[in-house]
Amino acid sequence: MSGEKDLELAKKKAAAAAKAKAAALAKMKAGKKDSQPPSERSTDPIEIEVELAQQKAEALAEAKNAPQGFEPEAGKEETGNDLPLPNPAHLELELAKQKAAAAARAKAEPLADNQGGRTASEPLLEIERFNEFSKPLPNQSFADMELAKQKASAAARAKAAAMAQEMAAAQTVSLSRESQQDTNKNPASLPTTSAHTEFDLEARKAIKAKAAELAAKSSTFYLEDDNTKALATEKETASAELKSKRAAMASSAAEHPEQKSEPIMSKKAAEEFSQLSEEDEKAKAAALAKQGGEAPEGDEKAKAIAVAKAKAAAAAKAKAAALAKQGGEAPEGDEKAKAIAAAKAKAAAAAKAKAAALAKQGGEAPEGDEKAKAIAAAKAKAAAAAKAKAAALAKQGGEAPEGDEKAKAIAAAKAKAAAAAKAKAAALVKQDGEAPEGDEKAKAIAAAKAKAAAAAKAKAAGAGKARPAVEPPADSKPSPNQKFLDKYIKVIEENLGTDILAAAYINPLSKDVPTLEVKVSAYYRTAEFLKYNEQLAFDYLSELHGTDFGSHFEVYVHLYSYRNSQSAAVKVRVDRENPVLPSLVPLWQGANWPESEAYDLLGIQFSNHPDLKRIMLGEGWIGHPLRKDYEPYDVEV
């Protein structure tokens, strides 16, 4: 086909895309406007919603009027969407208006009682966000629209189950880039650009959700005795799961192409679905292994737990993929879309059932361990919250079509949430030895588990970043600074006692700087000692900053002594829930602003700091951005 045709086509698409983008932006703005506290919006939220919907509907109707074939009418300035769309225009208009009204009602009702202010764990707000993203794509026929909606929520739930297991944040970044490409590869269609931006939004949400998930998961691994930690993590996991579910719903909704007649599309969607979940699984295993590495030094049980979790997640995912594939081959027929939808729902439900079964076996194994029960309880509560949300969603999506299809979906959602929770609890409690007896699928799960376990062990063996091995890796020649390090250790041990240093080693990566890892309790005394002792005389504070290592914060202080021109790094690990550290300002004035910055960006409290305030961000800023589970205040378009 000649170049011009393509270009001309491209130009038309670009114009259409721009118009759709404008419509999507308007919808987005309406969406954003609704989430603002009601006081700011003068008119009633429903009116805005409906009026916007009308605008969108008219834009679409106008686009629909373009004739079916590729040759748009001469002279018709507004080049409509040249893709063959079988449905009459006015029906579309009707549907769009109706749907918008429904969505508005759904949005208005939760908004009414949620008086603005962004609280991450507020379930109603979540629903409102969910509605906004789950609105099926505008240009489908009536039946297809319902189906798409129902299909979207079901598939999302299945995917959510897979994603509910923790996901390494980094993996998801590459995942979102690749999934962005997948969308790029989809054949261009009218709503793609708007879906595309929506997908971008969802991809970013997915990353954040998964990051939150990561933080929550790793904190639950930190087997502390006190229950307060469990409760706190339970709250976190609940919000994390909600977020991840919301992200999953949106991404799968965007990922499902609008109603396309050719069967290849449905198979492709299925493949994408499984490919996506495979990636989730890979990401999850890697994260798990990293988690394993991060657990307190050398704790055998922690490694086991990491492994068990990988097993459970792998199982659920594998199941979903297999079933999705079967669903895909369902014989083509005129109601292909319905078949695909059914297949998807079935696959999701089956996957959930499987996970539930697996979890049930795990759960039954009674374990007397007090801690395990506490964690299980926490997990159950989180699952319950997730279940309630899922049920609400299902109810939302399901008003129009009656029949058992809907009921099954809701049941499936409930089961899924429960399964996820139980699976996690089981993994926490049980050693990985007990492979579930019975059918061939179980053996597959065991194999996957073994592979994950191996990876986890390998990862743990390597010098974990957060938990450095006690002795420096035995490289060929002892590093030149070894004698300085020994001197520091000797002098500190003599004067301050032996249980001060958690670890002391030469950091080969950073020009062999002697690094001392100090316990929180002895942090100030050691710093004071380093400064005023004549042998050490570290009078210059070069750098001080905090980092969020998932399970804990860490403050890194780089000191330098002008007298014996030697530098040393001091690191201290502070607990994540209430990070409080004595301030070093009385010793070095230079620590004043860096500590304020650490407080501002990470939320580390420095006691007796002259004036600890937010130095970088405005006073009214909510949250601490450099924390890994930070939810950006304004959703980036």
Binding site: M1, L9, A10, A17, N184, T192
Partner: protein, 139 residues
């Protein structure tokens, strides 16, 4: 007072020295070949590998490809390619990673527009922006 006197003599001497300013709007600025200006895009060279949109630090490149129209050839051709010059920082990473040099930089930097929407440059505009093309594109 001697210091002041020296200062006065310096400024007086400069009164007659040759001026160093460019007469910019009338004559174009002398720019080296490597100068990073606005990109030029060759739609026919692009293989829709998405390298540029992945490497872009500010995610300002949006591109969509489609299947090659005639079944004989495989691979994809570019469909829409827009760069959002509101946030493009002209860092030249996209031209660095492009395998087929489908996107290269020109030397013109004048990009003032009257409205922000015009800063979304699409495939056609980027194709027509072909003066002062950089001769050497890869190090």
């Amino acid at each position: 007072m001697i210091g002041l006197a020296k200062g006065f003599s310096y400024t007086l001497k400069n009164l007659t020295r040759k001026k160093v300013t460019y007469d910019y709007p009338n004559e174009p600025l002398p720019l080296p070949d490597r100068f990073r200006g606005i990109q030029k895009f060759y739609p026919e060279k692009c293989i829709v590998c998405n390298q540029c949109s992945n490497i872009c630090p500010t995610d300002c490149i949006q591109l969509t490809g489609k299947k090659h129209p005639d079944p004989s050839k495989k691979g994809k051709i570019i469909d829409t390619y827009d760069i959002n010059f509101e946030i493009c920082i002209l860092c030249d990473l996209c031209t660095e990673v492009c395998p087929t040099e489908a996107i290269i930089m020109t030397n013109n930097f004048e990009l003032a527009e009257y409205s922000r929407d015009q800063l979304f440059k699409d495939l056609v505009w980027l194709d027509e922006n072909d003066e002062h093309i950089r001769r050497v594109n890869k190090p």
